[in-house]
């Protein structure tokens, strides 16, 4: 009887009022927010962070934008690991399911096809410009890669017929190209200057641009593959015929 009343009350309350535990949680969170808020309010403003250090060493970095200098030169090791994070997300996505393409031709009207035909090359162009611009204004690999990813998403949403038929190996090569090039250049710099990712000073700008271009391509492909939601059809090795069948197959 008691549990019935409680469940009825919960159904009636769904979405409207909070029960006791949730009110307690709300109260605790309000306390936490006020505490953190007062701390932020009263924190002194005297630290200048690392601005001076960056400004001092800016010319040695080979690029004019301080953000790109920090991202790809001073703290390039972080960016290397971050590109691996993207790749990990794709591998995880591929391991979960097969990419759900509907298999039949979608009913795309002329407006949609026209928009896609106009926008996608334009997006490629804008992405290339953003990557090149990263050396002296806001831009760079991630921004360009995001635009490329958006172009890929547009193509996927239009459900063009050639997409499910893309073979897995070029896709894998495209995905791994950016990170692999980054690691290769890092090791190359290790041999040249004795530091991992220590670019030689004259070639710094050129090497950074090369890394950014490769990473932009990979990032675009990564984002599009994540949107596709699974591995392509022909991704796994040839299946070996099992020699015996065992009767006791449970969930592993």
């Amino acid at each position: 009887m008691k549990t019935e009343k409680k469940s009825i009350r919960r159904i009636r309350n769904r979405g409207k009022r909070l029960d006791a535990w949730q009110l307690l949680l709300l109260f605790l969170l309000l306390c936490l927010t006020t505490v953190l808020g007062t701390i932020i309010w009263t924190m002194p403003e005297n630290t200048s962070g690392l601005t001076d250090a960056v400004a001092r060493l800016q010319e040695q970095s080979g690029v004019e934008s301080p953000v790109t200098a920090v991202l790809l030169n001073f703290r390039g090791y972080d960016t290397l690991l971050e590109v691996m994070v993207l790749l990990l997300a794709v591998i995880g996505a591929w391991s979960l399911a097969k990419a759900p393409f509907s298999g039949q031709a979608a009913d795309t009207g002329p407006v949609q096809m026209g928009v896609v035909r106009l926008l996608v090359p334009l997006m490629f162009l804008v992405a290339a410009y953003l990557v090149w611009q990263g050396s002296h204004l806001a831009g760079g690999a991630f921004q360009g890669g995001a635009i490329l990813g958006a172009a890929g998403v547009l193509l996927l949403v239009t459900e063009l017929l050639f997409l499910p038929a893309i073979p897995a190996l070029p896709l894998r090569i495209g995905l791994v190209f950016g990170p692999l090039l980054f690691v290769v250049i890092a090791l190359f710099c290790l041999c040249l200057t004795g530091h991992l990712l220590g670019y030689p000073e004259q070639a710094a700008g050129g090497l950074i641009l090369l890394i950014e271009t490769a990473c932009a391509i990979s990032i675009g492909l990564t984002l599009a593959s994540l949107f596709a939601g699974g591995h392509p059809e022909d991704d796994h090795p040839q299946s070996v015929n099992p020699t015996e069948h065992s009767d006791k197959e449970e969930w592993p």
Binding site: T42, Y77, L81, L87, V183, L196, G198, D235, P252
Partner: protein, 495 residues
């Protein structure tokens, strides 16, 4: 110093790119990793702690890697366990592909296991070596994503749900840690751990930063009461993945937490904060052990045993700075090393038992010792380390804990530790007795024999955990070398 990170990274990329010979690449990377870490240990003993500046940029602007005693020991633990996991996983997947139905599903799982595992190994090595709080955040994320994908690899409905919850909890932990980093940067303006050590003063912002970072890392290390995600995730994953998660992943965030508390924020920690952590650890020990005794499935029991053993690591918080003669890190290192080896052995045995019998219900495990002698032997030896009997590493860790608590008159911790060991004995022997009792109607099950790749890594890991106590002077020596004030800077980024 960079090769423990770079080698598995390249191996992971190659494993994903090429679809053939993935095991050869992974094995080569694991062996090379072990050799590199041994070389690093040798250099540590010769030259003392070292720093490596990435890109040649000095801190506070650049990122540094640091190798000192605790880092090198954790790297060694990861390398040895990693090699065992690589070999075991090969045996596990080949057995499933050849002998069970749905071979294509198992092949797909194997195909994605290797790149994920290699990248996880790179992330772990990066975590242990890094000396920059934001870089630590990125390595934590690498580990979280790889671990969640690995946990979901088995395809069971329970594992998908557990992996989703694990990913969300992990993400919550990372975000809280990042908020702490933001507060710290606002107060100090520095991201490098060495310089932070000198700049950290007792202020509200710094205290908030420490609290936030600690909560984030506690979520990732599954301390009671934030442990709810651990048993389903570890129990429902594939056996090699359970080994990775229980043996290595939870140790990474704990290592970071301990380092933050005892090396960076030393001025801020109060005895009440240490006692709070110790209390949570005590609750974890008892709660985890009681739950482990109640389980019906072997893997769930071992997962709850992980919750319990992690509690010992947290009881080390109030007991680590008592005596000046022992190192701060010694308790934690011995408990962590012993637990990593013993827990790996346990999960490997659980996987072998499952492959042989097709299930892991404890009450139906009768007489397994007749058909699986080596795994049962490994289980027994690993149980010795869990219970804390000499000469295992678990014994050394518990001995240090007990002596610390008695010399500082905090005898209640000693009570908890002893009770925990007794409870561990109960749940270990509960399964051991099943293994040895052969019922009257027992017939040897006619299933395919297990390959030695499945049995021997478990035994070797168990033996390592047993004999680590005998060789306890080596880790102590490494810890003593690694904590001197002299540090050497090696610009070349030693391999």
């Amino acid at each position: 110093m960079i090769s423990p990170i770079i080698l598995p990274l390249i191996a992971g990329l190659l494993c994903f790119l090429l679809n053939r010979r993935t095991f050869a690449i992974a094995l080569a990377a694991a062996v090379a990793n072990l050799l590199a870490v041994c070389f690093l240990t040798y250099q540590l003993l010769l030259f003392g702690p070292m720093r490596c500046h990435m890109g040649g940029w000095q801190p506070p602007l650049g990122i540094t890697l640091r190798s000192d005693g605790p880092a090198v020991l954790m790297l060694l633990m990861t390398a040895v366990t990693g090699l065992a996991i690589t070999v075991y996983a090969r045996g596990y997947f080949s057995h499933r592909i050849l002998n069970l139905r749905q071979a294509t599903q198992h092949q797909e799982q194997q195909r994605y296991f290797w790149p994920l595992w290699m990248l996880l190994l790179a992330g772990l090595n990066g975590l242990f070596l890094s000396n920059d709080i934001f870089n630590l955040y990125v390595t934590l994320e690498i580990i979280a994503i790889a671990a969640a994908s690995l946990a979901a690899l088995s395809g069971k409905p329970a594992s998908q749900l557990a992996s989703f919850r694990y990913l969300l909890v992990s993400l919550l932990g990372s975000l809280t840690y990042l908020l702490g980093v933001v507060f710290l940067y606002r107060s100090c303006g520095i991201l490098d751990l060495d310089i932070l050590q000198h700049h950290v003063a007792n202020g509200p912002g710094i205290r908030a930063a420490l609290a936030l970072m600690s909560i984030g890392l506690l979520l990732k290390t599954a301390l009671v009461p934030l442990h709810f995600w651990l048993p389903p995730t570890h129990a429902n994953a594939l056996a090699p993945v359970s080994v990775i998660l229980s043996g290595l992943v939870v140790k990474g965030s704990f290592y970071l937490l301990f380092r933050l508390w005892f090396e960076i924020f030393t001025q801020l920690i109060t005895p009440s904060a240490l006692n709070f952590m110790g209390t949570l650890g005590a609750v974890a020990i008892l709660w985890g052990a009681v739950q482990a005794m109640r389980q019906h499935r072997l893997k769930l029991m071992v997962a709850y045993s992980t919750v319990s053993q992690l509690g010992y690591l947290f009881i080390a918080f109030p007991l680590s700075r008592i005596d000046e003669s022992i190192q701060v890190w010694s308790i934690v290192i011995f408990m962590a090393l012993g637990h990593a080896c013993a827990k790996s052995a346990l999960f490997m045995v659980a996987g072998a038992v499952f492959l042989h019998l097709g299930h892991d219900r404890i009450k139906d495990l009768n007489g397994v010792r007749a058909s699986l002698p080596i795994p049962v032997f490994a289980y027994g030896i690993a149980g010795v380390s869990l219970m804390g009997l000499p000469p295992s590493a678990g014994f050394i860790g518990k001995w240090l804990l007990l002596t610390s608590s008695l010399t500082s008159s905090q005898w209640w911790w000693a009570l908890v530790i002893i009770t925990g060991s007794l409870l561990a004995m109960i749940y270990v022997f509960r399964v051991m007795s099943r293994f040895f009792v052969i019922p009257e109607d027992y017939s040897v099950t006619t299933s395919a024999p297990l390959s030695p790749l499945l049995e021997w890594p478990a035994l070797i890991m168990a033996l390592i955990s047993l004999f680590l106590g005998l060789a306890a002077s080596w880790p102590m020596k490494i810890l003593a070398t690694g904590n001197t004030a002299l540090t050497q800077v090696f610009p070349g980024g030693l391999p």
